[in-house]
C-alpha cells in the first residue's frame, strides 16, 4: 500500500470523465501491466545488448518462450481457479520419457504421443482428485506429486539420459525448424494461448474458472461444480506440460532425468509477471504469453549483453521482480 492509496484530487476528478474512466479500467486489466513490464525489458535489452533486435534473437526468445509458455498457460488457468501445480516440471519429464520408451519399443509416434498425453491426463486427474476430495492445499499435494514423479523418472532412467534416433512428420509438426530460425513449437504456443484465451473469456467454463478461484462459496451457490472445474484445470495443466515435454523430445531425441526441473517455478514466474494473482480469481493468458516472452528475453538478452556467467541467475531473479513491480504499479495507480 502507500502511495497508491493516496490519490491526488486532480486524478480523482479526471477519473470521473468517461475516457479517463475507460483508461482506468484498462489499467486494471492484467495484460496492461504485463505489457508495460514487457516493453521495459524489451527496450532495456534493445539499448544494452547488441544483436538483440535481430530475427535470430527473436526466434531464440520465441523458442524458449514457447515451451515455457505452454506449461504456463495451464498453470495460469489453474491459478485463476485458485490452485497451484508444482508437479508440471516432473510431468513434463515423465511424459517425455514415456514417449521415448514407447517410441524405442517401436510404437507409432502418434500412438505414443496420445498415450503419453493420456498418462499426463491421468496424473493431473489424480492431483485434482486428491486436492478436491481431500480438501488439501494443492501446494503440498503437487509438491509431493513433483517429488514422486521425479523419483519415478530417476528410477526408470537409472540416472542416465534415454536417447532415441528417428524422426517423423509428427516430430516436424511438433518442433520442426521454420524459416528464420523459428520452431513449430511457437505455433503450438500461440494457437493454444489463443484457444485458452477464448475459453477463459468467452465460455461458461472460463467464467467458472474465475468464479472458483475468486469466490468458491458464491460460485457453489450459483451452481458451479467448483471441484469439477478444478479437476479439469489440473488435467489441462498436466496435458499442456506433457505437450511441452514431447515437443522438446521431438527436437532433441533424448530425455534425461533432470528434464523439466525448475520449470514449475519459471511457469509461476511467467504467470505472475503476466498479471495473474497468486490468490486466484484474476488473471489472463495473454498476460502469461507476455510473461513467458519476458523470461525468454531475459535469458537471451543477458547472454547477448555479455553478463558474467555467475551473475546471470541473479540478474534473472532481479529482472523478474522488477517486471512484476512495474506490472503491479501500473495496475494500481
Amino acid at each position: 500500500m502507500g502511495p497508491e492509496t493516496v490519490e491526488a484530487p486532480s486524478t480523482l476528478a479526471a477519473r470521473r470523465r468517461a475516457p479517463a474512466a475507460r483508461l482506468a479500467a484498462l489499467r486494471r486489466s492484467p495484460e496492461v501491466g504485463a505489457l508495460a513490464g514487457f516493453l521495459a525489458v524489451f527496450l532495456g535489452f534493445s539499448a544494452v545488448a547488441p544483436h538483440f533486435l535481430t530475427l535470430d534473437s527473436l526466434a531464440g526468445i520465441m523458442t524458449i518462450a514457447a515451451e515455457l509458455g505452454l506449461v504456463a498457460i495451464g498453470v495460469t488457468l489453474l491459478m485463476i481457479a485458485g490452485e497451484f501445480d508444482l508437479s508440471v516440471g516432473s510431468v513434463l519429464g515423465v511424459s517425455a520419457m514415456a514417449f521415448a520408451l514407447m517410441a524405442r519399443a517401436g510404437a507409432p509416434h502418434l500412438v505414443a504421443f496420445l498415450a503419453a498425453l493420456a498418462l499426463a491426463a491421468a496424473i493431473g486427474a489424480l492431483n485434482g482428485w486428491v486436492v478436491t476430495r481431500g480438501r488439501l492445499p494443492s501446494f503440498i499435494v503437487t509438491l509431493g506429486s513433483m517429488m514422486f514423479w521425479r523419483g519415478v523418472l530417476l528410477a526408470v532412467t537409472g540416472g542416465f539420459p534415454i536417447a532415441y534416433e528417428g524422426t517423423s512428420a509428427l516430430f516436424f509438426a511438433l518442433s520442426g525448424r521454420l524459416p528464420g530460425g523459428f520452431h513449430a513449437s511457437a505455433l503450438w504456443f500461440l494457437a493454444l494461448a489463443l484457444a485458452a484465451t477464448v475459453v477463459l473469456t468467452r465460455t461458461p467454463f472460463g467464467n467458472a474458472l474465475f468464479a472458483s478461484g475468486g469466490n468458491p462459496q458464491a460460485a457453489r451457490a450459483l451452481g458451479v461444480d467448483v471441484d469439477r472445474v478444478k479437476r479439469i484445470g489440473f488435467v489441462l495443466t498436466a496435458v499442456l506440460a506433457a505437450l511441452a515435454g514431447i515437443i522438446q523430445f521431438a527436437r532433441f531425441g533424448s530425455v534425461d532425468p533432470l528434464r523439466g526441473e525448475g520449470v514449475e517455478l519459471e511457469a509461476i514466474a511467467a504467470t505472475v509477471t503476466g498479471g495473474t494473482l497468486l490468490t486466484g480469481g484474476y488473471g489472463s493468458v495473454i498476460g502469461t504469453v507476455l510473461g513467458a516472452l519476458i523470461v525468454g528475453m531475459v535469458r537471451n538478452g543477458l547472454v547477448l549483453a555479455g553478463a558474467p556467467a555467475y551473475w546471470y541467475r541473479a540478474f534473472i531473479g532481479l529482472i523478474l521482480v522488477v517486471a512484476v513491480i512495474i506490472n503491479l504499479r501500473i495496475r494500481r495507480r
Binding site: 545488448a49 523458442t63 524458449i64 539420459p161 536417447a163
Partner: protein, 327 residues
C-alpha cells in the same frame, strides 16, 4: 567346396576333438582354491546405476583372477547418511581391505580413520579427499580421474589442432565441484596460450542451453572452441553446431560417454570425449588391495584412470566395450 577341402576339414576337426578329450588333464585357467582375502567397495553410487555397474563388473572380474572375495555396497538412492551407515557395517565385518568413494570428506573422516587404526587398508576410488596431505584421511592412495587435469588436457588437445581465437566452457550445473574443476582446467589451459576464454551457464534444459549457446556465439562470433562437461551439455551443443552450420568450424570437446556423444564423434561434430575408465576403478581397487595384502606392494602415487580420450580413432572399439559393460 571340393571333396579334398572337406576331407582336410574333417581331419582338423578330428584332431581338435582328440586334443579336447585330453585337455582336462591340464586345466585351462587355474581356479583359485580358496579365498585368501575379503575386500569391500563402499560407494555413493547405487548398484542399479549403469556407471557403477561397470565398476562392479571390474571388481568382479578382478575377484575371479585373484583368490579373493569382493563385495560392493552402495545406497539405492544418493544419501551420505546411508553411505556412512554402509561403511560402518562394512568396517564392523572386519574386511581385509576397503575401497571407498570420499564423497563427503567430513562425514567419512571418523569411520575411515577408525578403520585405518584397526589396521584395515583403505584406498579411495572415484572421488578423492580434496584436502591437502596431512589433513586428509590417511588412505593409501586414490584410484580415479583427476577432473582438473581432464579440463587441462581438453584444452591442450584442442590447441594441438589449432589455436582458437576464442574459447568457451559451457557448464550445465554451476557450483558442481567436479564440473567446476573440469572448467577451471580448461580455462587455465587456454589462458596459457592467451586464448580469450570464459564460462557460460547453460543450465540443464536443452532448449535454453541451445539458445544460450546461440546468443553467446552471436555476441562473440569469433568463438571457435567449445567445451561441454557431460551429456547434458553435449546434446544441446551438437544440436546447436548442426543447426547453425558450425560443424568443422568450431572445435567441440566433451566429457563422459553416452550414445549421443559417440555418434557425434563418428559424425565428426565432436572432436573427443573424455572418460574416466571406471572399470579400472573396480578392477584396480581389488588388484592393488590383493597385492598390498599379499606382498605389501603399493603404487607410489595416486593411480589416475582418467582423463582418457575417446575420439574418431577408437570410438568403434569403445562402442563395442560399452555394449560389453566395460566402459
Amino acid at each position: 567346396m571340393t571333396r579334398r577341402m572337406l576331407h582336410g576339414l574333417l581331419v582338423v576337426l578330428a584332431m581338435a576333438l582328440a586334443l579336447g578329450a585330453c585337455a582336462p588333464a591340464a586345466p585351462p585357467t587355474p581356479a583359485p582354491a580358496k579365498k585368501e582375502f575379503t575386500f569391500y567397495i563402499v560407494s555413493h553410487g547405487g548398484p542399479a546405476d549403469p556407471f557403477w555397474g561397470v565398476v562392479i563388473k571390474g571388481m568382479n572380474e578382478a575377484a575371479q583372477r585373484y583368490p579373493v572375495e569382493a563385495k560392493y555396497f552402495g545406497p539405492e538412492k544418493f544419501s551420505i547418511q546411508e553411505l556412512v551407515n554402509l561403511l560402518n557395517s562394512a568396517i564392523a565385518a572386519k574386511p581385509d581391505g576397503l575401497a571407498v568413494t570420499i564423497t563427503d570428506p567430513k562425514a567419512l573422516d571418523e569411520p575411515l580413520r577408525r578403520a585405518i587404526q584397526q589396521g584395515i587398508p583403505v584406498i579411495a576410488i572415484n572421488v578423492a579427499d580434496p584436502r591437502p596431505e596431512g589433513e586428509r584421511i590417511p588412505y593409501l592412495f586414490y584410484i580415479g580421474m583427476d577432473e582438473y587435469l581432464g579440463g587441462l588436457r581438453a584444452a591442450q588437445r584442442m590447441l594441438a589442432v589449432r589455436t582458437p581465437k576464442r574459447a568457451v566452457c559451457a557448464i550445465h550445473e554451476v557450483g558442481h565441484v567436479g564440473l567446476e574443476a573440469r572448467c577451471q582446467g580448461f580455462l587455465d589451459g587456454m589462458k596459457e596460450k592467451n586464448v580469450p576464454v570464459e564460462k557460460l551457464d547453460i543450465g540443464t534444459d536443452p532448449t535454453k542451453a541451445v539458445e544460450a549457446l546461440k546468443a553467446y556465439f552471436t555476441r562473440n562470433p569469433d568463438t571457435d572452441a567449445l567445451l561441454t562437461l557431460g551429456p547434458l551439455g553435449t546434446d544441446p551443443a551438437v544440436k546447436f553446431l548442426k543447426e547453425n552450420n558450425l560443424v568443422g568450424k568450431v572445435l567441440h570437446g566433451t566429457f563422459d560417454l553416452h550414445p549421443g556423444t559417440l555418434s557425434a564423434i563418428q559424425e565428426g561434430v565432436t572432436l573427443f570425449a573424455i572418460d574416466q575408465q571406471q572399470y579400472l576403478q573396480g578392477y584396480m581397487a581389488v588388484t592393488w588391495l590383493y597385492l598390498y595384502k599379499k606382498y605389501g606392494l603399493r603404487p607410489a602415487n595416486d593411480v589416475l584412470t582418467g582423463p582418457s580420450f575417446v575420439d574418431k580413432d577408437n570410438v568403434g572399439l569403445v562402442e563395442a566395450l560399452i555394449k560389453a559393460g566395460i566402459r
